[in-house]
Subunit: 195 residues, 4 copies
DNA sequence: GGCTAACCGAGACGGTACGTCCTGTCTTGAG
DNA sequence: CTCAAGACAGGACGTACCGTCTCGGTTAGCC
């Protein structure tokens, strides 16, 4: 019964992903087209459409191959240090043109593409956020963090600051900035505990 | 010398802005086209190109007419309360479809359009951020906030949390959520001052 | 020397020809595609390409199986009657959708495909025309037809009328019409022999 | 109310028709594509689609500009002579590559395109055939042709012979051949009036 | 009865053209 | 001098087939 058929060519797949990344790096996400990727990769348009439903899917595939391992959470015994380390690495990753440019493009496109938004959510939230929540939970357990801490909101504030710079204020990101964010949010704004 | 000429029709201008807003509300920012706006407004494409350089400019023009007054900063004597009030209003504004949808579309497009990014920056940062900084400055002066507070980073964290929900995690926004963000960031994460 | 291998499957062959004929009948020759035939026949495209060089070859193969015996020339002793009979059968055959539709399609395609044109020519001219010429020759011998008759031109006129209706004027064909053509051409146009 | 709009460019129109004719002459009707015409004419595809519904319509437009005057019927006082003259001119026209090749392509395509078939019919039948019928009518009136002549069938036979050579047997056409057809059909096949 | 080559289905591949949509520019005529 | 109308060159879209190319799986026919 079952179907055999010629297996998908890994050469073609790699050529497409490489071409997509190069084109984003060189001309920006907005200028990316399926036709352009096909031409650059020396591949037929149909080959792309057979494997990916949109240019966003191609870029996601290309971008999220290598980034995974770099974003895991450490366990140093200090929640503040764990956050400093991981968020620094996130900020650094975002400044690398090979990642930052396509990633911002994907975030932009995901605003009108629910499927893409879901895929990014899966990758960003389900995977990363669970790690962050775990770090905070350990901190609370150790008595390092407030017992009544609202974990979700804390994560929003910490990562929100990074994404705010990336997407809204477009100010430069750096590992140093990431560390400052962690420290400021860690300590809070108020002058004395009784306020 | 010669004749007076016909002045730009304000009727046409208003028709364009109204059509643009309706189309964004009905079909989303991504589906917006200059041709569509022109057709809906009963106006020639030329008329739009004569007054705005891009569809983003039309939408900005349409969206930022009314929002100004709603986002000013109060001065209640408490920085925490001032922030709660203003950030709540921001969160509420973002949930209104007549503002939130086009605004998110503009933020998305601004990722590839530096001119639009500048225009949004002008509006979002220069104007709003100065108000937030003033609130924090007053809080420090009053001894309500830490003297060594990094104002910029604090603002990134507070507003970042809101934008993070809007653009990245796509979780629902509300005035209540905004207030929680202010309170959590105000107090900080740590359990005791000596950490 | 070497091994035997598996012979071509006659089941596949018949499935292809049947599928092609059905598709032409149902959707017309123009809508016929190799992919469509393969799908309908439950056969791989490769199987078709292995046996036929083009969709025209498939259709020719399918159409010219059964038509042969119906188009032979009788020998009644009267050239006029022989022609009436055979041309009537031709006209009738052309009106049958199972033959007429694919045949017209082949004639159309043969206008740009010399190989197909040759194949059709082989079938139509070499085979049929020889029979018609023989009928006319017998008629001349018997003194029934003019001794100085231009056989080729006579055949062109007789069959031309049929093909003209089929391909150019698209008026309906019938056995009755065929008989009228034979009679009119037989007698000629002129009122009296001395013109 | 009324629309003004930019008028269609006659330059573009002429460029398209000229390009189409050249391409048919050089590479044949089958190889003709809208994209090819657009490229050759230095025109956008949309410009072609705006004015013509298909490549056939372009070719018809291109081919039928000049042919009209050449195909009118003379009135010499002799039906045989009138037919000889006009059918000779038809045969000659068909041999000119600038007309014959595109015309055969159109006839081929009209077999699957009813709209095109109608348009050709309009041009070929309604216009030309009326002229032929008139010639025959005059011949009958003068006593030159049989009173009981079936005009339609006679026309089918005369022109059918020409089209048969053009489309089916692909034998060469010439003015001489056309004249022979007229003469043979005029006299008929039979040896003596009493058959 | 086991080998083995040819044939089969499936379907991915590099291509070409399709007809559509939208872009931003231009050219009219009416007001 | 501005407007609605709409034609223009251009570029990308996603689709349909083309004819070629691997793939396993399946049959014959010969040892």
């Amino acid at each position: 019964m079952g179907a055999a058929g010629r297996p998908k060519s890994d050469k073609a797949r790699r050529a497409v992903l490489a071409a997509a990344l190069e084109l984003v790096k060189d001309h920006g996400y907005a200028a990316l087209t399926i036709e352009g990727i096909a031409a650059r990769a020396g591949v037929a348009k149909t080959t792309i459409y057979r494997s990916w439903p949109s240019k966003a899917a191609v870029v996601m595939d290309a971008v999220f191959v290598e980034s995974d391992p770099r974003l895991s959470f450490p366990d140093t015994g200090s929640a503040r240090e764990d956050l400093r380390l991981q968020i620094s690495r996130v900020a650094t990753l975002f400044t690398e043109p090979g990642f930052g440019k396509p990633f911002v493009g994907l975030l932009a496109e995901s605003q009108h593409d629910p499927a893409l938004a879901d895929a990014l959510h899966q990758w960003l939230i389900t995977a990363r956020r669970a790690g962050a929540a775990e770090v905070l939970r350990r901190g609370v357990e150790r008595g390092e963090l407030r017992a009544d801490l609202d974990t979700d909101v804390a994560i929003d504030a910490l990562y929100g600051a990074i994404y705010y710079r990336l997407l809204v204020s477009h100010q430069p990101l750096s590992a140093q900035y990431a560390r400052t964010v962690v420290d400021e949010v860690f300590v809070g704004l108020r002058a004395r505990e009784d306020i």
